[in-house]
């Protein structure tokens, strides 16, 4: 049963340099209690896609397509209805907690906010819930630390606070944007374990946005690889890491320091005026003339794996 279904999503920006097609005809699906990893390099459009779901982008964006959540098309909702969903049904955990937390409000208050907004709780009630959340995410002495300010927390702690804020109203879908970026390895390990635990106990679905394939390997049931505004591969996690189908996925995996660290030649394209054929053509070692002219469709490679590549057409 699909919880979130994204169909033919297009998010385009009008800039003075031209039309930036950050998300160009993307289809994705997330089932209940499933974690989907949206993986790609920076500039591929994954964050824009995530922000499109809750319409958190700026006014000069044109969004087309359908984003169906529990039967409702989010793109057709008015602002009031959308606000009722934001934070309550679908929670977005932003990158970089240092910038995403309000420096002049106490941490406890910031976690209270979703309770007061969505559950119309009184401040004292909300504060109790906030302390409970802080405890849930493993922050010691939660009732005292709730009174402290973001700068008094370390990076790992701040990330936990962000997670607490996201989970406050027990959402059905969590969108987590690079939740471990900038964290030290041992702290990263702690946060990943925490996230695993919380997802399992709450039964929520998660859309994980990351450039870190190892993070996706640990947390996700399915992986979608995004490049230049498109999904190039979509597969079950195990299948993906056993044998990635798309040449870009292969190259991406090989370029990791935990593998052979072999770089992919070339650089990624600008999102303005994408090429006619396959967008990975210029950097692909297995390309043919066909790839230059004809844009490949997403085709099934085997059960649980789809790739946008002429190798599988």
């Amino acid at each position: 049963m699909s919880l979130l279904s994204i169909e033919h999503l297009e998010s385009h920006f009008v800039t003075e340099d031209g039309l930036v097609k950050a998300v160009d005809d993307v289809d994705l699906e997330i089932d209940r209690s499933e974690t989907l990893g949206l993986v790609g390099e920076s500039g591929c459009g994954k964050t824009v896609l995530a922000l499109s779901i809750l319409k958190l982008l700026s006014e000069n964006t044109k969004i087309n397509g359908k984003i169906v959540y529990k039967g409702k098309d989010l793109l057709k909702l008015n602002e009031a209805d959308l606000q009722a969903i934001r934070g309550k049904e679908i929670a977005h955990i932003f990158q970089n907690p240092l910038n995403s937390l309000n420096p002049v409000l106490s941490v406890g208050f910031q976690i209270c906010e979703p309770f007061m907004l969505h559950q119309k709780a009184r401040k004292s009630q909300a504060l109790d819930e906030a302390v409970k959340m802080l405890n849930l995410v493993g922050i010691p002495l939660p009732s005292e630390r709730a009174k402290e300010y973001p700068h008094e927390f370390s990076g790992g702690m701040r990330q936990r606070v962000m997670i607490a804020m996201g989970l406050a109203c027990r959402p059905s879908l969590i969108i987590a944007d690079e939740p471990t970026r900038g964290l030290d390895p041992t702290i990263q390990a702690q946060v990943v374990d925490l996230m695993k635990e919380l997802i399992e106990t709450s039964g929520a679905s998660m859309l994980l946005i990351t450039h870190d394939l190892s993070l996706a390997a640990e947390l996700c049931d399915k992986i979608a690889v995004m490049y230049s505004g498109e999904i190039l591969e979509y597969a079950d996690t195990e299948e993906f890491f056993k044998k990635p189908a798309h040449p870009y996925s292969v190259g991406f995996l090989e370029s990791l320091p935990s593998r052979s660290m072999k770089p992919i030649r070339g650089t990624s394209l600008s999102l303005i005026n994408p090429p006619r054929g396959c967008r990975f053509f210029a950097r692909c070692d297995q390309s043919t003339e066909k790839c230059k002219d004809i844009h490949p469709e997403l085709k099934k490679v085997k059960d649980g794996q789809f790739a946008r590549c002429h190798l599988y057409a």
Binding site: F13, E16, A22, S42, G45, V48, S58
Partner: protein, 280 residues
């Protein structure tokens, strides 16, 4: 800093463009005063005194029969000359002090900052008046008086910029390469201090004009027969009821010039602080 993008940003701000055009017109008027003014600035024609604006005298005549428009145009020259001198001096001195203070820190910084704090506590107009009162009125003394406190703001801004720039990695890289302190100050720190300083200059020009006009109004600035907007205001105040044009026109000029500089300064500030959208 992307030059073309800054210029584009600036152009988008209509007020700033208007301000820029006004200042350009005024500057041209100041430079070509001899060619464009209908009469000479000093010609006294008592028979034609205190005449209201007409086709012959677009802004009327003053109590000595001089054409107000002509005096306003020459006044532009005086005002601009004075203000540019003041700003040139204060900006240079202030930035120098600020950069040295911020770069070396330590005792020099402490002393200079305390000095600046003390001086900033003085109301600048009063200080200027005291100086002019002691040294006597006149152009040079006016410039000196206004400059005495003006440099402080530049020093503060330059120091703040310097403090943040000296921590940047490209400055560390320069030291790693083996650049001397003076080279770093000149080629690394100073150019990167410039954006806020440029904005400060444009805004400062406005307030300097006001100060000079105020001194002129109090009789302490440029002396007759040199035309200056402030002194013209002073001259016209006795006749305010019957011959308002003597005061209105110079007053209007002051306002227009200051406003124009403020608009430019605002526009520059917005253009130099790019709010670029990053698409990830």
């Amino acid at each position: 800093m992307p030059r073309s993008r800054n210029i584009n940003e600036f152009i988008k701000n209509k007020a700033s463009v208007v301000g820029l055009i006004i200042i350009m017109i005024l500057s041209l008027a100041a430079i070509f005063a001899d060619f464009i003014s209908p009469y000479s600035a000093d010609t006294i024609a008592l028979k034609e005194k205190l005449m209201p604006p007409s086709s012959e005298h677009l802004m009327g005549t003053d109590q000595l029969g001089r054409d107000v428009l002509t005096r306003v145009i020459y006044g532009t020259r005086t005002t601009f000359e004075l203000s540019i001198m003041v700003v040139a001096f204060t900006a240079t001195f202030g930035v120098l002090v600020g950069v040295i203070s911020g770069f070396y820190r330590g005792i020099i910084d402490e002393i200079l900052m305390r000095l600046i704090d003390v001086l900033l506590a003085f109301p600048s107009i009063i200080l200027a008046l005291v100086v002019v009162g002691a040294l006597g009125p006149g152009i040079f003394n006016t410039v000196l008086a206004v400059s005495l406190v003006g440099w402080l703001y530049y020093a503060r801004v330059a120091r703040a910029s310097t403090l943040s720039i000296r921590e940047k990695e490209y400055v560390e890289g320069a030291r790693a390469i083996g650049c001397t302190d003076s080279y770093i100050c000149l080629r690394y720190i100073l150019p990167n201090c410039l954006p806020p300083i440029i904005v400060l200059i444009t805004l400062n020009l406005g307030s300097v004009i006001l100060t000079i006009a105020a001194l002129g109004y109090l009789g302490m600035g440029a002396q007759p027969p040199t035309p200056e907007w402030g002194t013209m205001l002073n001259d016209g105040k006795e006749y305010l009821r019957d011959c308002p044009w003597l005061s209105v026109f110079p007053g209007l000029m002051i306002m227009i010039a200051v406003l124009a500089f403020n608009f430019i300064g605002d526009g520059l500030r917005d253009a130099i602080d790019p709010r670029q959208m990053v698409i990830k």
